[in-house]
């Protein structure tokens, strides 16, 4: 059995969202089981299943260095706070 990740897209503008996972023996079974397990209440109108081992996974720490880059955030609040702190700091 392979693990498959299940993605559902709601009607309209929403993007595909990850809704869960399941185990199945074939791609076709993954689809029919996802249909009954994840969209039996018409939670979305489109469905993807992706074999988990087909997902390309980044190493731990791959993203971590980007955790401290306030200048890349749109709202400017973090940058403004830094500038204020710099202004008010003793000479």
């Amino acid at each position: 059995m392979d693990v498959y990740e299940v993605f559902v897209k709601k009607d309209g503008r929403d993007e595909f969202r990850h809704v869960g996972a399941l185990e199945a023996a074939t791609d076709e079974l993954a689809l029919v089981l996802a249909r009954e397990g994840y969209v039996r209440r018409a939670e979305g109108d489109r469905l993807w299943v992706v074999r988990r081992d087909h997902v390309i996974v980044a190493d731990d720490g791959f993203v971590a260095p980007n955790a401290d880059k306030p200048h890349r955030h749109h709202d400017g609040a973090a940058v403004a706070a830094r500038r204020r702190a710099a202004r008010e700091a003793p000479e």
């Binding site: 185990e23 199945a24 023996a25 076709e28 079974l29 689809l31 029919v32 009954e36 397990g37 039996r40």
Partner: protein, 266 residues
């Protein structure tokens, strides 16, 4: 038999099959071989129960009874055993998952043919129920096929499925057996033809699906035969007017909650 009571009996046989099949499928919730499957199988069972409820409503309308939930329940659960028109395949208590799966495939293959026969029904509500049901049935069959494609390729599973088919094969002709009232339903255009005519295409489909692994075949008239079905015909069993030994225990399970408090409002 008058037209109306004949049509009623035809619809009742259809509804009772859907009802009991739906019940039997949903009994796998929590105990199917794996989590995803018990959810899927029960969900398919719910579809069949939904079709049964719609067909029971048609029966009540013919009876001049308003099809309230209580009236549908009364018809579905509270009739005397002799008033049911189910076939023995849907009453059968399976010996396990392999039999349940083979029955699921056979029943849903039959259903595709059965719904097709009423798709242009002179009864407009039946034609509209059919449109809805056929959209769902295609997925039922696809689910069963996906499992069988995988399992028939594995030696141990194939042998279990072979045994299962041999065990339940003698119940297959009864599925295609008509009620006495069917002639009225055909005359009135409610259905396009006799249910018995579905046996040959069903037998062919069974042969195509299972024969490379199971060794079933057809006799000189094209009839589906295994060692278990040899000698049976589609009309000599009279199953729909007499209940099998499996019926009462099944009904007892179905009525268990209802019987705690028959007057409860849900």
């Amino acid at each position: 038999m008058s037209d109306r009571s004949g049509i009623r009996e035809f619809l009742l046989a259809f509804a009772d099959d859907e009802h009991l099949m739906g019940q039997q499928h949903t009994e796998w919730i929590g105990v199917a071989p794996f989590l995803e499957e018990d959810l899927a199988f029960s969900s398919i069972g719910q579809d069949e129960l939904g079709h049964a409820a719609l067909l029971y409503e048609l029966v009540l309308e013919l009876d001049g009874i308003e099809p309230t939930d209580a009236a549908v329940d009364q018809l579905a659960f509270r009739r005397s055993s002799r008033d049911y028109r189910s076939c023995h395949l849907v009453e059968y208590t399976t010996g396990g998952w392999a039999e349940a799966l083979v029955r699921h495939w056979i029943y849903d293959t039959f259903e595709e043919l059965r719904w097709e026969q009423v798709s242009d029904s002179a009864m407009p509500r039946l034609a509209s129920i059919t449109r809805r049901a056929r959209r769902e049935e295609a997925f039922h069959r696809r689910h069963a096929d996906a499992l069988l494609d995988k399992l028939l390729a594995a030696p141990e599973a194939r042998s279990r499925i072979t045994d299962a088919l041999q065990t339940i094969a003698h119940l297959v002709p009864g599925l295609c057996e008509a009620t006495a009232g069917e002639a009225s339903a055909i005359a009135a255009g409610v259905t396009a033809g006799p249910t018995a005519k579905l046996f040959e295409p069903l037998a062919r489909a069974i042969e195509e699906r299972f024969s490379p692994s199971v060794g079933v075949g057809t006799d000189e008239t094209g009839r589906f035969v295994t060692s278990a079905t040899a000698g049976l015909t589609t009309t000599d069993q009279d199953q729909r007017t007499r209940r099998s030994d499996w019926f009462e225990p099944l009904m007892a399970r179905m009525r268990e909650v209802l019987d705690y408090d028959p007057a409860a409002v849900w």
